[in-house]
Symmetry: C2
Subunit: 244 residues, 2 copies
């Protein structure tokens, strides 16, 4: 059976404006690879209702799972939750269980659960909450969409909460061979190898370091024995290369 | 007149599998912000023909400019150029000027312009070449799509080649105020400020550092005077905050 597929939607003006680099995508990609879920697409859109709703609907129809990151805090630019409700055509309101989680958290902190913070208890109808052990305000899952915070520590905690509940497949395994030759010199043998190992994905990622051209050849798949076999053949062709 | 809009398409199995972190997106976002081009969306898709063609067609119809990154080298997994040709419905073949650039480069290196390397001279009909001062193999522009290499040094050089030819708008300016309070405490005043400065984008990016909650409030826009005005009001509300 093929692995489940997934997409990620990053709601991120701060990334599109060049202010910050995304960290959540890389984390999710690594976790999904370990868990046997194939991350097929990532989209980054700005804090714009129409853009978010359109992306949500395209991705949730195209993939088994969608993870969103960002836009579920208490400020005016946090619009992800109502956008998810709109994409699914359901209502959204402050929910008692989410409010209770926030009330307890802010009571313990000695802070007020004011109107702004109460926004974080707005949950679309039919969703289940995602635990947030870092800062209490929950994420939620609606259908195949998992809505998580953008702060990396919170995002990572939410991924840990949700991942065990997602049916995974075969973990994606990989081996890498660093070959210090121009890609043009290895392309022929590599292509021949890829044609014989069609169950594996063989990627070549060129680099240039101190004027020396080279490529990291990454062989990926779910069958470790097949990867070993392909890597042995490749290593025999380029005996000076370094596996890492 | 509003700024031109742009999208980026990253062709990147190596990012989706969690092997590497994208660097080109961050570079392009910063360059576009300086040049007054609004980066509105980024998509990352895998090395899959159908996915690349579909994304290309969606993005080139939705935005003034599209920049692609990756997949134009000599190996079997480099399929971006034929996908661009397919998206535009034009033919692709080895072009004399591109071949001459490669021939000169490999002659100088003492390497052979073999069949694999010649793949890098395949250019869709009607495209213009993008200079590559780093490793010779050119990118190309077809319609509003600018096709660039994935290796960061080459990508950056190609952006430098193309950017001066793209009509820019007003550079995106920004100021940031770091406020050491929970977002829930600043959300109310921030929302009121955003309602009065509708020409600016006011974003709040929460963080947690050593157990202390805070937020970076970023005010963005193209009118420096308006940003100053909004920032003065915000600073007056939170006198302990640090602008940076």
């Amino acid at each position: 059976m093929p692995n489940p597929t997934a997409a990620m939607l990053v709601i991120g003006d701060e990334i599109l404006s060049g202010r910050t680099r995304d960290a959540n995508m890389h984390h999710l990609a690594q976790e999904f690879a370990k868990h046997g879920i194939d991350l097929k697409e990532v989209r980054i859109v700005s804090d714009d209702r129409d853009a978010i709703v359109a992306a949500l609907n395209a991705l949730r129809q195209g993939y088994d799972h969608v993870v969103t990151s960002g836009g579920i805090g208490p400020t005016h630019d946090d619009i992800t939750a109502p956008c998810v409700a709109k994409a699914f055509g359901v209502a959204i309101s402050v929910r008692d269980d989410a409010r209770a989680i926030l009330q307890e958290h802010y009571d313990r902190q000695g802070s007020e659960l004011n109107e702004a913070r109460l926004r974080m208890a707005r949950i679309p109808d039919g969703a289940t909450l995602i635990e947030n052990p870092v800062s209490a305000a929950p994420g939620f899952t609606l259908g195949n969409v998992h809505v998580m915070a953008g702060v990396p520590a919170v995002f990572q905690a939410m991924v840990s909460s949700v991942l065990p509940k997602m049916t995974g497949g075969q973990p994606l395994l990989s081996q890498t061979l660093r070959i210090e030759r121009g890609e043009g010199d290895i392309a022929g043998p590599l292509s021949a190898l890829a044609e014989r190992f069609t169950d594996l994905s063989i990627g070549s990622y060129p680099y240039q370091r101190n004027g020396v051209y080279g490529a990291n050849v990454v062989i990926r798949g779910t069958d470790g024995g097949r990867i070993d076999a392909a890597m042995s053949e490749l290593s025999a062709l380029f005996p000076e290369a370094v596996s890492h």
